[in-house]
């Protein structure tokens, strides 16, 4: 039995991740539903290489779209989809797969993750449905940070304005955020320029459309001259691995209902063939029957807690990057447990923490420079107020003669001692 671990469904698609979507399509096309299980584990850490999709076969783990396909063929589990292709078509398939990763991947990242409006309205809620409670606060932001890093070479950082002035409550948009009735009383201070009125997506629309056009035209050119109803990349093969991968990326461009749908706006009118391709692939998936969904094993409390701690640690500035690099180093060298390096690191962190904490406390305990030391001490230990520490002592010495009367019974006894309200000289030590 093959267990395929993926990111869970979103936007009406079987997965939120392009490569997971691609490998699900591939499996669904080559294997009968009875021979594999689809597990939405939503945790890359299930596989040793920390990547989804991951295939678990007996006790072997294989991660990534291409490696899984190679494993299926090499372990003779099933025939590959690319068997019927000619050598040059295979070469094309490899090249265009690389092209998809290099160019379509960053576009999907831009649309779903980098664009602040789309992220807030669509992608983040989708992740919230997939993850359980405390992880919804920590994990999606990490995923987004990775996507931003992948797409930053395109130089479209404008999309990443979390302070989208047209978005929600923002200081510069204070006027619009107020209720209509209050707004009448506030004079109009500034007038927005045309550029400020535009959303970030509109402001850089030309560059965005340029990128989209470059990417999709290349794909569209390869698909030319095929079946008009069911377009595929290589017409003589029904579905190839390139079709699966392209479906993964293109479906994520077309299907999610994002508020700033620049990819969809290009895809529908300009490259109707690709648009039709996504629909026909999706229809083919549903036509082949249900996907063999299985519930993931319940995670243990320790593992869940570990994942929360891990994601929180990665959020710490500076330290988080070091931590991520160290974890990657350990995973690459397949180290588990404690070794000398890890012990040294932990010792280092603990010692640094202690030193910092001690320094901070010492600093807090220091007197402000130039201030004279004043200490207030009770002369009479009887005073109740002195029970309240230094402030109490100060008060009790200031209100020296006043004795709170706790109860009526005591009054008589006290009167015998002397006249009421004796004034007592109290001196405070001032140095």
């Amino acid at each position: 039995m093959l267990h395929l671990h993926v990111w869970g469904p979103a936007f009406g698609l079987p997965s939120i991740d392009a490569e997971c979507l691609a490998i699900i399509t591939y499996f669904h096309n080559v294997l009968p539903s009875s021979s594999w299980r689809l597990i939405p584990s939503n945790d890359p850490a299930v596989s040793p290489s920390n990547l989804l999709p991951a295939l678990q076969h007996e006790d072997k783990w294989i991660s990534g779209f291409q490696p899984i396909i190679e494993y299926l063929t090499s372990a003779a589990i099933c025939d590959g989809l690319d068997e019927t292709l000619s050598p040059i078509q295979r070469a094309d398939s490899v090249a265009y797969s690389a092209y998809l990763r290099a160019h379509a991947g960053p576009l999907v990242d831009l649309s779903l993750y980098v664009s602040a409006a789309n992220w807030a309205a669509t992608t983040r809620p989708a992740y919230s449905l997939l993850l359980t409670f405390p992880l919804t606060w920590t994990v999606p932001t990490l995923i987004r940070a990775e996507a931003i890093k992948r797409a930053e070479h395109l130089g479209l950082a404008e999309l990443d304005t979390d302070f989208d002035p047209n978005g929600g409550l923002h200081l510069s948009a204070g006027r619009d955020a107020l209720p209509e009735t209050f707004r009448r009383h506030i004079p109009l201070m500034t007038k927005k320029t045309v550029h400020e009125e535009m959303t970030p997506e509109q402001a850089i629309a030309i560059r965005l459309f340029g990128l989209t056009e470059d990417c999709l035209t290349v794909l569209d050119d390869l698909m030319k001259g095929g079946d008009e109803e069911h377009p595929r990349f290589f017409t003589d093969a029904a579905v190839s691995s390139l079709d699966c991968l392209a479906f993964g990326y293109l479906a994520l461009m077309q299907k999610p209902a994002v508020p700033r749908s620049f990819l969809k706006d290009w895809l529908e009118p300009k490259t109707p063939r690709l648009h039709k391709f996504v629909d026909s692939m999706l229809a083919a998936i549903t036509a082949r029957g249900d996907l063999p969904w299985a519930t993931s094993e319940p995670t243990s409390v320790a593992r869940f807690g570990g994942r929360i701690l891990d994601s929180v640690l990665r959020h710490i500035p500076n330290l988080g990057e070091q931590y991520a690099a160290e974890m990657r180093h350990r995973a690459e060298h397949q180290k588990t447990g404690l070794d000398q390096r890890a012990l040294m690191l932990i010792m280092g962190v603990v010692l640094t923490g202690l030193a910092t904490g001690y320094g901070f406390q010492a600093y807090r305990a220091m007197q402000p420079f130039g201030a004279s030391t004043q200490s207030w001490k009770p002369r009479r230990s009887r005073t109740r107020l002195s029970e309240f520490g230094q402030l109490g002592s100060m008060l009790s010495s200031a209100m020296g003669p006043f004795q709170p009367v706790p109860s009526g019974l005591d009054v008589g006894a006290r009167d015998q001692g002397g006249p009421n309200g004796m004034l007592v000289e109290v001196d405070s030590e001032v140095d």
Binding site: E19, L51, P67, I88, A98, Y99, A102
Partner: protein, 322 residues
Amino acid sequence: MAGPPSSRPGWFAVPAPVRELFKIFPLTTLPAESLPERAPERARVRPSLYVFARTLEDARSSRPSFNPQCLKWQTFLRIAGVDVHLVPSNNHASPSGSLPFLLPPTTPTSIPEKQSSTQPSGNAVTKPTIPLTGSKIHRYAKDNSPRETTFSDSPPSRTEAYEALLSQNLRPAWLTSSEKLYALYLHDANTPLLKALYLPPSPILYLPSLHTLRNAATDEILKTTRRSLVDPHRLLVDATDALRSLSALLADNDWFFGLPDPGLFDAEVFAYTYLILDEAFGWADDYSLAQCLVKFDNLVEHRRRLYERCWPEALGEQVNTN
């Protein structure tokens, strides 16, 4: 009261003896210091291509650069027959932060030489030239090619796909291997000139620069492969896939896409294949990428063909390296 006579100096006038004293200065005016030996000439007759080069001699004799990006453009300019002057350089010299870049030759202007020496900083001598990078080098090479043959364009979308294949599959494998290479490279004490040019001699500076280099390479690989770990075995498998695809694409043709003349894509492939199979490069003996590449005879042939075409002067050496 009569006004002061006009000959009388005002309140702010410098007294005559002081004025005399100051008139002596400057005592002598020394001739202007000449620019350092390696400074670029003020007027370029040939375009200069700034590349990574091992030694100054390598650059003077226009030997292939050791950086694939640089070698790509160097090769393409040679294919186009544009004679360039190679300048060994590093990233800090580049306006865009990366090499290579090309400075076109200065256009001679009508202003006579004599006048230009009197006002060296003015724009009278040369028009300031803008450094060219990437596709602009491509256009420059096309426009200035002395050859009559027009560059026939390869099918654009397929070329783009295969270029992505190079950058996506071959480059990460290249980067992992060059991590090893740099370590080996930097420990090499045989080339004192290299040490003087590139390496800070003290370990205090050398170790951090090596660390930065490795981190940059790791980040680059993780970004392009969209994975969370660097898996050298996987990268090698991807690179082999890429080479197999390129081999299938080339088939029995002389140049890629069946064109009569080599083009930019040939230069790009050559930049990798030349360096991978370059024995003088200092690869470790069990270098696996080279072992993958020698299996594809037509790529090796393509490399030899292009090298002979672009570096005809080096044919004698070619015999013992290949």
